[in-house]
């Protein structure tokens, strides 16, 4: 090393030499982040058919924690959860064949476009072009317009957890990771390994990676279309009940080089290869096949008659994919901005070539603000086996008579169909253009907030070189996201400066407050900020109760559903709730608190013994009962709490705080089940809604006292619905809760707590104002609420020093000891609360 350099230059040199070129500065080695995202399709053009289905929408949350286990050892955890519901295309057919059949639910309400995939009475001309018959004149007119057939889905949730462990050498790194993703019909597990070598004075980096993913499909065919779907060509992949099973295996590898070009530009080139084998089709997509007997006599108007049948799509069982990426980053000194240009070429042996070009301009605005406009263009060719619909020149079925005069029906010959076919618009030729804007604010002490929005438009006309799919497949959509990121390393630096402040708050006051308690403290002075994350899990299972008594199925059948009889009863219900806890003190005497929530709920039901005979599944009540055999799931944003907290009494070690606030109805309270067997199932069970749908007043008064290593506390809180009903026609009952606790600090960082809770909750008011089917006690408003007693056991740890100083984590298990339920309900099994908080 040069010994003539000044000390500052040496330090700068050391810092710069330590810089690896990839995945560095935007992410710290120690950080916690949380993101919410929402994607929504626009309404599809169905060419005159009015659809009541809501377009598909997806709500996502992601949380990510990165920690340093040792000087050179990194650990990262990710959790992702997506919930989606709404309508997507299941197939494509000529508009003349009426694949989207409208249906009147009532004289005023038009149900949308239920999938109707088969039609045995369609017409084509001698060149097999679709004909539409004028209902008035009887004449046949050519109509080549295609249209998607839509089907809607009940809410479904995917959860993914993964981790990564990394080790850094001076000029290399190695990362090993694994994870799993679970949803109702698709589970996958994956492992990966990646690494980096720096050389050429760290001006060049070689990056490599490899991964293996195994994905298992276990999906029931679309309930609404199940009776119509042809399965003859599908072999053993599908059983008689319509269960499709298959496994897919992906091996992937990548190799890249990152190169510093000059002091303000760098470039990266990478190639990757993926080999996939196994089941790669989508079990919910079908291809319409038009059967026309070419030997038939041409009709008087030049028409040929035919039949349209729907087949489950079939894709090749092997796919080899190659991608080539080029990424270029240029600093624009005049604006202190950075221009990012990316190009990707993709090629696979399904016949798809795709080009992606994107550009981002990151413009710092000063004071921690930055703004990033972005544009992206994507274009792909169609897969070799993509067809909007198939034409098979044979009769769907032929009727002949044998020697004895018996009718003999002969079906089509499946061998005359192609081996693979798909009408999934994602395999068609098209282009997609998107543009977005991201705004980021970096606060001192390592807190970063970000909000982004992106508009996406897909169109056949946007395909590079033309020749894309027709306009029936065009759609648009938008994606919005908001995220919060905390640089834990930056926080620890801030702490070391203000260690006395952090020390005070992490050690004494509130050290043992149970994780399930909110509103227990205010921020001490103006300008203070606290952020936190709260997780809550609650579960109900066991034998159904009426009041405090366990009751028989016969009792539920005859008494649980008012004047009617019950068919099913809940078997298990669970809820996961993720909450952000954001506190800010604008003045010394006032603390404001904002609490957005994201939640998901799950419910299984069982048929009651001695239940009455089920109505036909072709009735809406019968279809609702059949649908109850599947797990019901909902998920998305919950209600948002907004509170003002005041300290009203304060002695040396004791204080009383008051919290006044409202809960805004940001969570959905009108979620509906999907259509099944062409029946409208209407609203899902009341308890599965994500929000109350009403503005709610939520006051709380809290006492806390610290006496040496012992602390005690008590709280009264309530929820008063400010509206008598929400837009779906009902309101949840008011809630009153009283709780008291005691805690003991065993060391300067560990405390445990015990508490008791009494909760009183009223039954529901009103009832759903549109279609819903009452199949069990959970569909009756008087089977909600009750009187409950719990005992809680908690543990809390505050980091007194080290790099995570000032962080506090706590857990509490609430064990029910007394359930006195209104109506007929499952008893509670318990609830887990976990919190992480950090005060600046």
């Amino acid at each position: 090393m040069a010994v003539t350099k000044s000390k500052s230059l040496q330090l700068l040199t050391a810092a710069a030499l330590a810089l690896p070129l990839t995945t560095v500065f935007a992410s710290s080695d120690e950080e916690a982040s949380f993101q919410y995202g929402h994607y929504e399709d626009g309404t599809r053009n169905l060419f005159g058919v009015k659809s009541a289905f809501k377009p598909i929408q997806v709500d996502s949350i992601q949380s990510n924690v990165k920690l340093k286990l040792a000087d050179r050892v990194r650990l990262a955890f990710n959790y992702t959860q997506d919930t989606w519901s709404g309508a997507t295309p299941v197939t494509t057919a000529p508009l003349a064949f009426a694949g989207n059949r409208q249906r009147l639910l009532s004289p005023k309400i038009l149900s949308g476009a239920s999938p109707y995939l088969n039609n045995s009475n369609v017409f084509v001309d001698k060149n097999f072009n679709p004909l539409q018959q004028d209902t008035k004149t009887g004449k046949f007119l050519s109509n080549n317009q295609l249209v998607h057939t839509l089907s809607t889905a009940s809410p479904e949730t995917r959860k993914q957890g993964d981790f990564r462990v990394g080790y850094d050498w001076d000029e290399a790194s190695l990362d090993v990771g694994a994870g799993t993703s679970a949803e109702n019909d698709y589970n996958s597990s994956f492992g990966n390994i990646s690494g980096r070598f720096d050389f050429n004075k760290k001006l060049t980096s070689l990056n490599w990676g490899a991964s293996y993913t195994q994905s298992d499909t276990e999906a029931y065919l679309d309930h609404d279309a199940f009776p119509y779907i042809e399965r003859t060509t599908f072999g053993s992949r599908v059983d008689k009940a319509g269960l499709v099973t298959g496994t897919k295996k992906d091996w992937a590898g990548s190799l890249g080089i990152t190169q510093v070009l000059n002091k303000s530009a760098l470039i990266e080139g990478a190639v990757s290869y993926t080999n996939s084998t196994g089941y790669m089709a989508n079990p919910y997509k079908t291809t319409a096949v038009l059967f026309v007997d070419p030997t038939q006599k041409i009709g008087s108007n030049g028409q040929l008659s035919g039949s349209m049948l729907a087949f489950i799509e079939q894709r090749p069982e092997e796919r080899n994919q190659w991608t080539e990426n080029l990424r270029f980053v240029q600093h624009i000194d005049t604006f202190d901005a950075a221009l990012h240009l990316d190009y990707r070429f993709y090629h696979d042996d399904w016949g798809i070539n795709a080009h992606t070009i994107s550009g981002d301009w990151i413009q710092p605005l000063g004071d921690g603000w930055s703004i990033t406009p972005r544009v992206r263009y994507y274009s792909q060719d169609a897969a070799d086996f993509y067809v909007p619909y198939l034409v098979s020149k044979q009769a769907a079925s032929t009727i002949t008579f044998d020697e004895d005069g018996n009718i003999k029906r002969t079906s089509y010959n499946p061998r005359l169909l192609p081996q693979n076919y798909s009408s999934d618009y994602r395999l068609s030729g098209y282009g997609a253009l998107s543009g977005g804007l991201t705004v980021t604010k970096q606060f001192a002490k390592g807190l970063e907030l970000q909000a982004g929005a992106e508009y996406y438009t897909h169109a056949g006309d946007l395909k590079l070189g033309g020749g894309g799919e027709g306009n029936y497949a065009d759609f648009d959509g938008y994606l919005v996201n908001a995220s919060l990121k905390v640089d834990l390393a930056a926080l620890s630096v801030a702490n070391s400066v203000h260690s006395e402040h952090a020390h005070h708050h992490s050690h004494h006051h509130g050290a043992g407050v149970p994780a399930g308690i909110m509103f227990d403290h205010v921020l001490p002075k103006a300008g203070d900020v606290m952020i936190g994350y709260r997780y809550m899990y609650a579960n109900q299972a066991g034998a159904t109760q009426n009041g405090t008594n366990v009751i028989s199925d016969a009792m539920i059948v005859h008494n649980g559903c008012g004047a009617k009889q019950c068919f099913v009863t809940p078997n298990e219900m669970s809820m996961n709730m993720h909450m952000l806890d954001l506190m800010y003190a604008p003045t010394d005497w006032l603390t404001l608190m904002l609490m957005p929530q994201f939640m998901d709920m799950h419910m299984t039901m069982r048929e009651l013994d001695n239940a009455p005979t089920r109505p036909s599944p072709l009735t809406s009540l019968g279809a609702a009962i059949v649908h109850s055999e599947h797990e019901h799931t909902t998920g998305g944003i919950g209600d948002t709490g907004m509170y003002a907290l005041f300290n009203v009494v304060k002695f040396e070690n004791q204080q009383i705080n008051i919290s006044l606030g409202v809960s805004a109805p940001s969570g959905d309270s009108d979620i509906q089940l999907r259509d099944t067997h062409r029946q409208d199932l209407g609203f899902i069970h009341y308890g599965m809604q994500l929000g109350s749908g009403t503005w709610d007043f939520k006051p709380a008064i809290t006492y806390t006292g610290d006496f040496g290593d012992f602390s005690i506390g008590a709280q009264l809180n309530g929820t008063k619905r400010l509206e008598s009903k929400n837009k779906a026609g009902f309101a949840f009952g008011d809630i009153f809760q009283a709780t008291g606790w005691g805690s003991y600090s065993w060391t300067n960082w560990l405390a445990t707590s015990v508490r008791g809770v009494y909760t009183l909750q009223g039954a529901l008011n009103g009832s759903y104002n549109s279609v819903y089917h009452q199949i069990g006690p959970m569909d009756y408003v008087n089977s909600y609420g009750g009187r409950f007693v719990d005992v809680g056991f908690g543990v809390a740890a505050s980091m007194p020093d080290g790099s995570l100083q000032g962080n506090r984590i706590s857990f509490e298990w609430l064990q029910p000891v007394h359930d006195d339920v209104n109506g007929y309900q499952l008893p509670r099994e318990g609830a887990l609360s976990a919190t992480w908080t950090y005060m600046f």
Binding site: T13, A16, L17, L19, T22, T23, V24, A26, S27, Q35, Y39, V58, Q62, D82, T88, A153, R158, S181, D185, S188, S189, F190, S194, L203, T204, G209, A210, S211, T213, T217, A252, I257, Q259, V260, L261, N262, K263, E268, A270, V271, S272, T274, T323, E324, L326, V329, H331, A338, H340, Y346, D348, A354, T356, I362, A383, R426, A432, L479, N481, S483
Partner: protein
Amino acid sequence: MRFLYFFCLIFLSACSNVSPWERGTLAKPHMSLELSPLQNSLRFHQYGSREAASGGVEVGGGGCGCY
């Protein structure tokens, strides 16, 4: 053909000579190749559920997103 990148980049590496104390601009957060990884994971998941050409962005991952 697809390894052309590597030859080009290795060739470029011979031309480049940026001293460590000249890398201040390269060290700025907005010069990172991995901009907003959290936001990108959401965006790429959405593209992946809408487009045939997935992969190539990063190694690994899972989930169907079959909507």
